[in-house]
Symmetry: C2
Subunit: 546 residues, 2 copies
């Protein structure tokens, strides 16, 4: 075990991380969801939560202090709960948000958490909530920062980890300010405050803004916690945005209302005939059988299923991180609700940040489903490099723009070999491919990961247009003396021709266009070779062909 | 229990059906996947398959006849397998496809199936496979039809159900012919032959063509079986295309290769650190623990997991049918592989057939994620009705085309109330909304299902263009004397304006366009009222306003 408070990252994908956070009660693997245990009412005993597979839970220090003070102090929180794993304690800030004031000072709350021996504590901050009023929102941020300062001052134990919540709500400049300030203070874990109402109202696009704004302004070497995130259909999204930890009572709250959670959304027990799950509960009972039970038993079984499915989804997210397939999981989960797809589309605003912090090479190829995927790091990275660092091969004079051949990597296509055999393998002629989703692929890069490891669905308009823009920007930037564009007849490629023509005019390049029914057909290849030779011959004299 | 061979449908969605097929060994609920049991090698004993939750399996009559003839005849197939559920038997046609000829006549094979007491038998047909050669493909169809005829003639038992396979492969006209001819013969179940290679190569768009071509030409009151479909990520697709039954040995074949099935795709046990599943196997063992086991045990556990996940997916599909949410499940599953998304896009070619056979009203609203969704029955139905049956209200003279308000149903929007209060609720003015994904919604229809029960993600270009086309087609068809188009400033709506202008010219309608920053803002509403009054005043005289 490492030093208490240490956080080691083992795997990354997008901003998601498999890491371990060291606490005095053991190592906590991220991403993790703390099931929230209400000390007063609890449908699943903490011991059973542990048996299901959660080695860390969260409970509420404020409720403990109010209703179970002496017992919690004398037994300590682990014995009090009958849970020998890791215990995190929340501070009552959420209760303050919902019920107005709480009757304890911020300093009392942190001292109490120390006294009961929590593993990970939270200061009593002031949640901004979904507060529209700017002035009130500003005050919550300032007061949260003041309380962070005063709370840290009274701490004595060095074996307890502390969370510093970032407030500001939907006011992103306040989130940024609060993250910067909070990031300067010595917390072990940072946290996104105030998302509850935003999540309850399915405003997942706003959540992406909040989380990423905080993430971009916090120390990246510390874990980030998202308060109140408990529906499995959003775990992949939250993890991709950089949340390492969650806590939620959703499993219990939904169970109380007869709701059944899944990675694809929420079902009402009332309306179910089949359980789409293989967990212990769902393979033992039918929906009808559970409906027939008394309320406490029914609720307990639903809560157990809900916990099982949360754990399953966390494992699904982890395996996706290991495989470098978190984006693919996001695409699937974005079809659980239109607002999750809206959130995924928000990634386009943060794509450079995502690219910067995602691994460059993965062990698997990528799947491309549609224009949302243009924000994924692998594609952004190729485009950025092409734009910023790429220099065309020395001596290249004729750019030949070809549609992507069927074979991968492109340079191994028989059609490409035919063209090269026809014109000779000299430096003058440079073959490039316009290929979604990457836009433009110079032949010599065509086996660089993941250009040949990508499988794409038939194209949508947005993706096609983006690719055409890449190709024409490339012409503009690289300024070849001559350009040969080989394009299919289809009307859809007229736009490409127009865009290339415009770029050629601006770049001072001579353009020849060759329209073909079958772009890689025998006849076309002959025409391509002839056209290239023609361009060379009409050329600026001294071109040499090997 | 109903009559043997009877098929009753209880729930429908798209072409998917929850129904029950009566056999002599009990009732079989569809959709169902028969796990295929190889009498020679079997990683999970039939008794355990039953315990997992499958009450019907399939085995191979040809292999039985060849290797276990006497024992199978004396014990009967149920006792031979130690399985007291429903047993279907395949005929060896697949073996003929793979190994060339089989050494039994079609008549011998069906008589043997009768003799061992199978519940559902298959005639020995000739699979077309993924045969490119037209002549050979034609022969397989003709020979299959001849064998169907001769096999049916030798049958004695009336308590055995028979499957009639439809051949033709990728030659869709042959599939159509074969389906028509096979459909005239008295089979209890029809089946799609030859899809194995197509599925192995992930040519799911071709599969959609094959299945739907067969489906459209077969009796719809009989169940349809898809041979060899065993990967859970494609169950939703196959069921949506109208397949009621599947059989597959994939759970065992994949297990033998160390492959782990999920609804999101295939994993290699080698590469797994986490099991994204809550089944008995996956909640007991970690991937590392299973890797450490001896091969037979490892294979058995993987096969059990694979069976669990197949059953889970079948239950997921069933619940989706009950909820009328099969399309939403298709959208999610289409992100398991680009070729599945390609297959979903194929539905646009069959959308009228899908519409005709899908239920009109559902208990839940629909989610719209992108242009693929334009093929779903609810949307197609609205557009067809608007085009074919809709007549504008009597006396309507001014069409007011408004963007969709935030509130649903649209006619309850305060903005709409303001407009109506301003111009009076007479018959002359007809408010309509252009709203994706439905295109155009006349106010009086705005609470008809599912126009107000739809949640849509932010729009993609294809969907937006489709909506604009609907709106301009409506103008052309309904020929109002005057049209007021209220549109947002955004450049994206210029196309709408152009299209409406063209339609107005053709329809002889006077067009006024009102561009607004906030289409439902206070100021805009006043301008709209003024514009409507202006159009009325400039009008053709006798208009009366109540």
């Amino acid at each position: 075990m490492g030093e208490i408070g240490g956080f080691e990252v083992r795997h990354k994908d997008l901003l998601g991380r498999i890491g371990s956070l060291e606490t005095k009660s053991g190592s906590l693997e991220t991403p993790h969801m703390f099931p929230v245990v209400n000390p007063s009412v609890q449908p699943v005993p903490p011991r059973e939560i542990r048996e299901i597979g959660f080695n860390a839970l969260m409970t509420n220090a404020y409720i403990l202090k109010k209703n179970f003070r002496e017992e919690a102090l004398s037994k300590g929180i682990h014995e009090f709960l009958g849970f020998d794993g890791i215990v995190a304690t929340d501070s009552g800030a959420y209760q303050a948000l919902v019920y107005g004031k709480v009757d304890a000072s911020p300093e009392e709350i942190v001292k109490f958490q120390e006294a009961i021996g929590t593993d990970i504590g939270v200061i009593l901050d002031v949640p901004t909530g979904y507060e529209e009023d700017r002035e009130r929102a500003e005050w919550t941020v300032e007061e949260t920062l003041r309380r962070a300062e005063s709370s840290l001052k009274v701490l004595d134990r060095i074996d307890v980890l502390w969370m510093g919540p970032v407030q500001g709500g939907v006011h992103l400049d306040l989130v940024k300010f609060c993250a910067e300030e909070m990031g300067k203070k010595p917390f072990h874990v940072y946290a996104i405050g105030s998302p509850t109402q935003i999540m309850e109202n399915y405003l997942f696009d706003k959540l992406v803004d909040m989380v990423l704004t905080a993430k971009m302004n916090l120390p990246l070497n510390k874990p980030l916690h998202l308060f109140g995130a408990g529906h499995p259909f959003m775990f992949a999204l939250a993890v991709a945005c950089g949340c390492d930890l969650f806590d939620s009572a959703a499993y219990a709250i939904f169970a109380r209302k007869g709701k059944y959670l899944t990675g694809e959304g929420t079902f009402s027990l009332e309306e179910m005939e089949y359980f789409p799950c293989s967990c212990g509960v769902c393979s033992t009972y039918s929906p009808k059988e559970i409906r027939a039970l008394e309320k406490p038993e029914r609720e307990g079984l639903l809560a157990r299923h809900n916990l099982n499915v949360c754990l399953e989804e966390i494992k699904r997210v982890k395996q996706a991180i290991v495989d470098g397939r978190l984006w693919e999981l996001l695409e699937a989960r974005a079809r659980a609700h239109p607002s999750l797809l809206g959130a995924l589309r928000k990634f386009s605003e943060y794509k450079l940040f995502l690219e910067k912090h995602s691994p460059a090479v993965k062990r698997k190829g990528i799947f491309f489903f549609g224009f949302e995927g243009l924000s994924r790091p692998e594609i952004v990275r190729h485009k950025v490099r092409l734009k910023e660092n790429y220099v065309r091969p020395e001596g290249s004079k004729v750019l030949v723009l070809l549609p992507a051949p069927k074979e991968k990597p492109f340079h191994k296509s028989p059609g490409v070999a035919r063209i090269l055999a026809g014109v000779g393998r000299g430096p003058s002629v440079h073959l490039c491919f316009y290929a979604t989703p990457f836009g433009l692929v110079p032949m010599e890069l065509s086996d660089v990961y993941p250009l040949s490891q990508t499988e794409a669905a038939p194209l949508d308009k947005e993706s096609l247009e983006a690719s055409m823009e890449e190709a024409s920007a490339f012409i503009l930037k690289q300024k070849y003396p001559k350009v040969l564009l080989v394009r299919p007849m289809d009307e859809g490629f007229s736009a490409l021709e127009r865009m290339c023509a415009k770029s050629c005019v601006k770049a001072g390049s001579e353009l020849k266009v060759l329209r073909a029914k079958e772009a890689w057909g025998e006849r076309t290849l002959k025409r391509v070779v002839k056209a290239i030779k023609g361009l060379i011959a009409s050329g600026s004299g001294g071109a040499s062909f090997g």
